[in-house]
């Protein structure tokens, strides 16, 4: 718990909810007649409205990217090390917007929200949303905030994929696309992991076909399992070994099935704390959005053609030990951008932290971001 809010933090922040009345037709064919988007913002929008950065969150993230929700808040937002005064995304210069995706459970309309048609919570009846739907909803958010063109749209993992979709769908409205630890589409192995996670949730006896809240239960076991599985894939073998090795909690075998190895204890803890903060139906939806993501599908499966209309400058970053979204996937995107003569820079950051590296304060990684954002400030000549 911070004794006081650190000086390089954006401080105490609170989310804002915007209501949208204009119906949103989703990729799945369903129309949301109205919806809410919850977002946070840090820094100040300048008079020209050209210093705005949009942050896209990953699978389990939300709009709370930086700062604290109260003076005594023990934990800052999920990308606090990257966003703030003097940080890579310098809030003294940039106006940063971070919104919760539709279908999430952070406050934007999703399975926990009331379905206006029935007066009860959507639950499993919330339509499956895609990355394109998110971009569409965020474009309306930009409109509402008076931002014609983002100085940058930026995100890691699923968030990075969303950035790519932004660059493809709204080429004129994004000056820089910062795509970190992402992929132009999921690998078969990725989809396989997501399916195991979904089955873990759906097979939980408390799931009740998604209507668990009507039964006043939560599919805790399933959601916990899904998170435990996910967590293993977000880290590298090396980092797990370095952190936990084969260390035993009691220093000896107990010849039973309770927690013995430290890694078991860690995973269970991760799973349990996730259950406290995440909704199972949202998790299912988010994994489907990941699986469906494939912008090239609409361009004859030609990634070069897919990005050919993009106007943004691209910064693509991968991490050496990321086996969930491997550097090879980032290179695939970079190759397509090179083929279509786009402005692109690419770096593969040496890191042992696996996919989760994008959340870490790795000096080289943050220096790259710092340099990139400082440079694009110069180029826009604020």
């Amino acid at each position: 718990m911070p004794d006081s809010i650190p000086a390089d933090s954006v401080g105490v922040v609170s989310p804002t909810t915007l209501h949208f009345d204009e119906p949103l037709r989703l990729d799945c064919g369903v129309t949301l007649s109205e919806y809410d988007l919850v977002y946070e913002s840090y820094g100040t929008l300048n008079a020209e409205s050209n210093n705005a950065v949009l942050i896209c969150h990953a699978l389990s993230g939300d709009h709370h990217a930086a700062g604290f929700h109260a003076e005594q808040d023990p934990k800052p937002g999920w990308w606090n090390n990257c966003i703030g005064p003097g940080k890579p995304i310098d809030t003294n210069k940039y106006y940063v917007v971070s919104s919760n995706n539709l279908g999430g459970c952070g406050g934007s309309t999703g399975p926990l929200s009331t379905n206006p048609a029935t007066g009860t919570a959507f639950g499993p009846d919330f339509p499956i949303v895609t990355v394109r739907d998110w971009v569409e909803s965020q474009a309306r958010l930009a409109n509402a905030l008076g931002i014609d063109r983002w100085a940058a749209v930026m995100g890691g993992s699923l968030g990075g994929m969303q950035v790519l979709q932004w660059a493809v769908d709204y080429p004129k409205q994004i000056a820089n696309a910062v795509i970190i630890a992402a992929t132009p589409k999921l690998s078969t192995q990725n989809i396989a992991f997501n399916e195991v996670a979904r089955q873990a949730i759906r097979c939980d006896p408390s799931f009740h076909e998604g209507h668990y809240r009507l039964h006043n239960v939560v599919p805790e076991r399933g959601l916990m399992l899904a998170r435990m599985l996910g967590h293993i894939t977000y880290l590298s073998d090396d980092v797990l070994h370095a952190k936990f090795g084969r260390e035993l909690r009691d220093g000896k075998f107990n010849f039973g099935y309770d927690v013995e190895f430290q890694i078991e204890s860690y995973l269970r803890h991760q799973g349990q704390s996730f259950v406290q903060r995440f909704d199972a139906n949202s998790y299912l939806l988010m994994t489907k959005a990941l699986d469906y993501f494939d912008p090239a599908a609409q361009f004859d499966n030609d990634l070069t053609k897919t990005v050919s209309n993009c106007q943004a400058n691209f910064l693509v970053i991968s991490f050496t030990s990321d086996w969930r979204f491997s550097p090879e996937k980032s290179r695939e995107l970079v190759r397509a951008l090179l083929d279509s003569d786009k402005n692109v820079s690419y770096i593969d950051i040496e890191s042992e932290h696996g996919h989760d590296s994008f959340l870490m304060e790795i000096p080289l990684y943050h220096n790259v971001l710092h340099s990139y954002f400082a440079r694009s400030l110069q180029e826009q000549q604020y």
Partner: protein, 203 residues
């Protein structure tokens, strides 16, 4: 930012508004200068992360890649020039890379430290591996694993059916004077070549 003598000359060699790929681009100063003064565009390729950060700060496109792994990311004839300044001596497969350069670029520009320079010959005559401003490392710790003389390079171009369009030498500060032009392999510190694929098939 000040360009090295060989880089400054490259800026004169290239046509304005060219598309350039700079292999081993370092901090990106050559590309930055070509962009600003000659309306050039293109990419740098670099392996060192600290240099990549400098490239980004200098406002050039830079892609991290290991030249020893080839240039498969780049299409045939996709650049006007592929440039490689004082890098060829440090790559593992110089010949292969030269052919790759000339596959991707309509022309290639290569500069390298000339092992035939009298200072190198002088040190070798006394039985020591040369250590010079451009080859500053001990034999056991040098990244420069493929050093050659101007005569060697010419022979290779001939053998590999690579056409030499232009050649000169520079030292750190100066262009080639009369003496350097007469005896380039003895007096030139840095050799510079503008190349393209040879028209005749190799014999």
């Amino acid at each position: 930012m000040r360009l090295r003598a060989d880089q400054a000359l490259i800026a004169e060699w290239i046509r304005p508004k060219s598309r350039i790929l700079d292999l081993g681009c370092g901090d990106g100063r050559l590309l930055a200068a070509l962009q600003q003064k000659h309306g050039a565009s293109g990419y740098g390729v670099e392996i060192d992360p600290e240099n990549i950060i400098k490239c980004i700060a200098n406002g050039i496109n830079v892609v991290q890649s290991n030249l020893d792994e080839g240039l498969a990311d780049f299409d045939d004839n996709s650049f006007d020039y592929v440039v490689m300044t004082q890098t060829i001596q440090a790559v593992r497969y110089p010949q292969r890379l030269l052919h790759e350069m000339l596959r991707i670029g309509r022309e290639g520009i290569v500069t390298f430290p000339n092992m035939g320079h009298w200072k190198c010959r002088f040190q070798l005559a006394f039985g020591k591996m040369p250590i010079t401003r451009h080859l500053p490392n001990d034999w056991h710790s040098t990244p420069n694993i493929h050093i050659c003389t101007i005569a060697d390079f010419k022979d290779m171009c001939h053998a590999e059916n690579i056409a030499v369009l232009q050649q000169t030498t520079v030292d750190s500060e100066h262009r080639a004077g009369l003496a350097m032009r007469i005896l380039p392999n003895l007096l030139g510190e840095i050799a510079m070549y503008r190349l393209r694929r040879g028209l005749k098939p190799p014999p």
